[in-house]
Symmetry: C2
Subunit: 192 residues, 2 copies
DNA sequence: GTTGAACCGGAGGGGTACCTCCGCTACAGT
DNA sequence: ACTGTAGCGGAGGTACCCCTCCGGTTCAAC
């Protein structure tokens, strides 16, 4: 058993089928879906996803009976990877740790065009994703608060929305994105 | 001629048809489209928009030959109203003026779910909208910069993206939205 | 190598969206 | 009031998407 588990980890692992060909198709579908969702939002065509994955539409439906279940799996997969990465930053300076993790949060969320919906989804899996994110990033932020590096009149949830909102926006170039993100984080740092 | 004109103003006025019944339909379509775009993003069904407006699909297509032209008109309409409102705030304290206008920006942009696309659209009208927004809000921001109330290592465009990103995000309640927006604006205020 | 269970692809029925086209309606100018 | 014209609605062809179902295929356990 690993040092730290997140609510989402087991769920993700349990989904993948055992048989070799089935597992290959499952992976191809997740990859194709991640691309399609990133490109067209959560309304992407399921038949297109199956085509991208080089798989029949029937195979898609066998693995993911509903559009929502497919989206949940893609999202859970990304959240899982993101949570596992939080452990790496535990040793850094408190403020550095928060910004480093948020940087990764901003990058990993390929599905960001649809994250807003997910952040308030009601299903069990979205709930587990939220819990996992809080379990992974929350301690980093609270440590920064205790160290006097982050303002204390806000919650970790506020910070996630702030970063999610900014990174979901289209910028003229990456430099502008980083500039704007840094400005917003200055607001978090300031304290008051 | 009004005291101040924005590039978008004439374009908006020129679109509306002259005949009475046609003008009524035009208005109904704009209203219905504003709602539908706010609800489903810029991919909203055109037939649904016509239904909401109580108008035949043919009438929609006569007024707006393409989906893009309809979206442009809705967007231009909102930008126009927003720009005209900037004049009201010219008398306030420099920082107050900026935040008051941004508050309205955040509220008016009912089409916000799709604003990101519009902020980098290539068409003539999107260009005019951008120019209008800069002409309306830019001076407020630069005045705040000269007064030492806003940091000078950023541009007005950065500020717009920042606010647009945050307000396009779903929050659990309005209080959280205001809290997050205030935090981000603290970053703008801080100076450095 | 055999075998049966699990898995596969994609045809096809039903639905919805896009857009065009044309017979009908209602406005506005005389 | 008359009338020509600008404007109207919606039927219908085409295309795509959703989802089910089933005959054929591939895996893995023996």
């Amino acid at each position: 058993m690993p040092a730290q588990q997140f609510p989402i980890s087991e769920i993700v692992a349990a989904q993948r089928p055992a048989r070799k060909d089935a597992a290959r198709n499952y992976d191809a579908l997740l990859t194709a879906a991640r691309e399609a969702f990133a490109e067209h939002g959560s309304e992407a065509s399921l038949e297109d996803i199956a085509r991208r994955a080089g798989v029949g539409i029937g195979t898609l439906y066998r693995n993911f009976p509903t559009r929502r279940s497919l989206f949940e799996s893609v999202y859970a997969d990304e959240v899982n990877a993101l949570c596992r990465s939080a452990v790496e930053f535990a040793g850094l300076d408190p403020w550095e740790a928060v910004t480093a993790w948020l940087e990764r949060f901003a990058g990993y969320m390929v599905t960001k065009r649809a994250v807003r919906e997910a952040l308030e989804g009601e299903s069990e899996i979205f709930q587990a994703c939220r819990d996992s994110l809080y379990a992974a990033g929350g301690p980093l932020f609270e440590r920064a608060q205790r160290a006097g590096a982050a303002r204390t009149d806000m919650e970790f949830g506020d910070l996630l929305r702030l970063v999610a909102g900014i990174t979901a926006t289209a910028f003229t170039d990456d430099a502008q994105r980083d500039r704007v993100l840094a400005i917003a984080l200055d607001g978090v740092r300031a304290g008051r």
